[in-house]
Symmetry: C2
Subunit: 371 residues, 2 copies
C-alpha cells in the first residue's frame, strides 16, 4: 500500500521504522531537505501547509496521514472528496488545529476542560479575571503560542490575535493518554503516562508509565477517553494531554491528532508501541494490545544551550553500557539549543528504580556540537 | 558513519530497521533489483561474489559488513589492506566459507564437531563408513549442498566435488547460540535457542528460547562459545548451530558468520535483539545485554507449495488480533514455494503456553499468491 505522510520528522521516521515489519511503501512531504524521513522513504521537499502541494502529494496515495497537525486541512478535505482515504479525517484535524474549535468540541461533548473565553476579534473585551492562560487560536506548538497573564498589569502584553483565554488550573500532575480508533470503529487506549516534574529532586521532563493515580482519577480519565472516542467520528491516534488539579479533578489541556512525545516509552515499555498502533489505524487493521510490560520511562535528548552545529552526543557510549536502556536518535545531523534530537527509554522493575535510572542517565549524556 | 552491507536481503533489512534508532547511512549491494533493502538504503545492484564489484562498493565506506557469507572474501582482504574496516574480517569469512577449513578450525581449537574426512580431489578414497553426511566445501546454504549417504549403494550418488564427509550424529535436539565480539575484545552470548521438531505433536520448525537443557549441556555449550570467541581473532556476530546427541554430548554442526534465522525471536524476546548486537559490533560500541524477557519463539513464514506470484498472507488479520504476537515481513512482493517471506514472533509466560500459541498461529496463516 502507498502511504503518504504529511511531515517528515522524527514521528514519521519512527512510524516508518516500525512499519518496516510490513510490506508498504512510504512517501513523506516536508519543507526540510534533510528531514529525518528523507533517506528512508520516497521523499518530497515541500510545504505541508500549501494547498496545491498537499493535493499533488496526496492524489496518487492509497491513504494520507499526518505526523504534525499544522497542515493544510482544506487540501485533506479535497483529497477525501476525490476518494483518497485520510487518517485522521480533515474535519477532526480542522477542529483540533484551532484552539477555539477544540475548546468548543470539549464543551459540546461534556469533556471537562478549563473554563474559557473565545476571542475571535481584537476589540473583544476579555471578561476572564487574571491570572489566566492565553493560547493562540492557530499555530501553537511545543509551548509556543501560549502565555500566562498573571496580573492586570500584564494585560498590556496580551496578543491581539484570535485566541482562547483559559482559566489557570492549579496543577498537581501532568498526565497523558494515547487513544486509537480504526475505521471499523475498534478502539484501544494506552496506559496513562505521567510527566514527572520535581525540580527539588532533579526529576524533570521524564515521561513514565504506569502512573501513581487513584482509582477515582483513572475513572475520570476513562470517562474522558470514552467520550472523546465517541465524538471524533474519525479513525486516528490521538494524544490527550491532561491536568490533575490539586482538588483531584482531571481536565483536558489539549489534544494532538497524531503520534506524541508522551508515548515514546511505549517502544520498549508496552506490548506494542504507539507507532505500531498508528500503523494499524492507518491500514484499518485490528488494533494492537497496549499492556505495559514493566515500569518504563523516557527522557528527551534536547540540544544544549550554547551549542549549534554538527551534533556530538557526549557520554553516549557509557549510556549504551547500561542494561535495559534504549537510545533513539532522529537522524538529525545539526543540533541547536532546545532542538529535539532523540530520546532514551529505560525499563525498570519498580517506580523508584525507574526514577533513579532516569536521573542517572540524564546526568551522563548531553547534546553538544563539534567545534 | 557510512556502513556498507554485502547482501540486501531480510537480515540486512532488519539490521537497518533496528539501526534507524541511530544516525548512520546504510549502503547495500545485492544482485536482485527488488531486494528487501533496496528501498531503505542506498542500494547498488550487483554481485557480492564479484571481486571488482565488491572492491568498488566498499572503497568509500567507513566499514563493510556482510549479511550472507557467500561473498568475495579476496575483495574483503583487499579492502582491509587499503584501510577499510571489515566486520567480520576476511580471514574468518574465508575459513567459514569453506566447510573443510571450517572443520579444521574446530579441530585445531579443540571445539567438538563430528568426526570428518576432508575430500579435496575427486579421486580421493572415502574411508568413512556409511551412513555419513556429505557437505560441499563451498556454496551450501539453507540445506542445499548437503546430502546423507545412508548405505554403500548410495555411494554412487556421491558428489564429485571438494567436500566434507562427516559422521552422522544421532540427534536428540538441534540448538543454536549466537555470540558476538567487538573490536575492543568485549564478548557477549545470547541465550541458547532450540529448534523444536516433534512431527507427532505437529511441533515443527519453531525456534524457542529459553531451552530445556541440563546444566551439563549448558556447560558444554559455554566451553564451546568461549573457545570459539578466543579463536576467531575478528569482531563479528556468529551463529553456532549445535547438535545435542542422544548420549548427551554437544557437537558443533556449523557456524554462520552473520545474523541468523535462529536468532529472530530476540527481536521481542530479549532485552536486545541480534540486530542491535550486530549494529554495536559493526560500530565497535559496548555490547548490549541479551537477557531473555520471557518465553519467546519464532515460526518462519515460508511460501506454500503450489503458489507463485504476488504474495497473499491468508489469515494474517486474525493473527494480528492475538496479544504478544509480532509479524515481521521482509518486503518481498513475490512468493514461491519454500521462499522465506517473513516470520512471526510470539511471547508467552511458560514453555507450554508458548508451544500452544506457536502451533495455533501456524495453523492460522499461510503464504499463498493472488491468482
Amino acid at each position: 500500500m502507498k502511504i503518504g505522510i504529511l511531515g517528515g520528522g522524527q514521528l514519521g521516521r519512527m512510524l516508518i521504522q516500525n512499519a518496516l515489519k510490513y510490506d508498504d511503501e512510504f512517501y513523506t512531504l516536508d519543507p526540510a531537505a534533510d528531514a529525518p524521513c528523507h533517506n528512508i522513504s520516497h521523499f518530497t521537499q515541500g510545504s505541508f501547509n500549501d494547498y496545491e502541494t498537499v493535493l499533488h502529494f496526496g492524489k496518487d496515495k492509497d491513504v494520507v496521514t499526518i505526523e504534525i497537525e499544522h497542515v493544510n486541512a482544506d487540501a485533506l478535505a479535497e483529497l477525501e472528496t476525490s476518494g483518497i482515504k485520510v487518517v485522521p479525517n480533515s474535519k477532526i484535524v480542522k477542529v483540533i488545529q484551532q484552539k477555539i474549535l477544540q475548546k468548543e468540541f470539549y464543551q459540546k461533548n461534556d469533556i471537562p476542560s478549563p473554563e474559557f473565553q473565545a476571542v475571535w476579534n481584537n476589540d473583544e473585551e476579555i471578561t476572564m479575571p487574571t491570572p489566566f492562560v492565553q493560547k493562540m487560536n492557530t499555530g501553537g506548538y511545543d509551548g509556543k503560542g501560549v502565555q500566562v497573564i498573571k496580573t492586570p498589569e500584564d494585560l498590556q502584553n496580551i496578543w491581539k490575535e484570535p485566541s482562547v483565554i483559559e482559566k489557570l488550573v492549579d496543577i498537581e500532575k501532568e498526565l497523558s493518554v494515547i487513544v486509537a480508533r480504526n475505521e471499523n470503529g475498534e478502539t484501544k487506549t494506552f496506559p496513562v503516562t505521567e510527566m514527572v516534574a520535581d525540580p527539588k529532586l532533579n526529576l524533570l521532563d521524564f515521561n513514565i508509565c504506569p502512573v501513581m493515580i487513584t482509582d477515582d482519577t483513572q475513572r475520570q480519565i476513562d470517562s474522558i477517553t470514552e467520550k472523546f472516542l465517541n465524538a471524533i467520528h474519525s479513525p486516528g491516534l490521538f494524544a490527550i494531554e491532561l491536568f490533575l488539579d490539586t482538588a483531584g479533578k482531571i481536565w483536558v489541556n489539549e489534544t494532538a491528532p497524531r503520534l506524541h512525545n508522551s508515548g515514546h516509552q511505549s517502544q520498549e515499555g508496552n506490548s506494542n508501541s504507539q507507532f505500531e498502533q498508528m500503523y494499524r489505524v492507518v491500514k484499518n487493521l485490528p488494533l494492537a494490545d497496549t499492556d505495559p510490560l514493566t515500569y518504563s520511562g523516557m527522557l528527551n535528548l534536547v540540544g544544549a544551550d550554547g551549542y549549534t552545529g554538527k551534533v556530538l552526543y557526549e557520554g553516549m557510549e557509557e549510556v549504551l553500557k547500561l542494561p535495559k536502556t534504549y537510545v533513539h536518535l532522529y537522524g538529525k545531523t545539526e543540533t541547536k539549543p532546545g532542538r529535539k534530537m532523540g530520546h532514551i527509554n529505560v525499563l525498570a522493575d519498580s517506580r523508584e528504580e525507574l526514577l533513579e535510572k532516569l536521573v542517572k542517565v540524564k546526568s551522563m549524556v548531553s547534546v553538544k556540537a563539534y567545534i
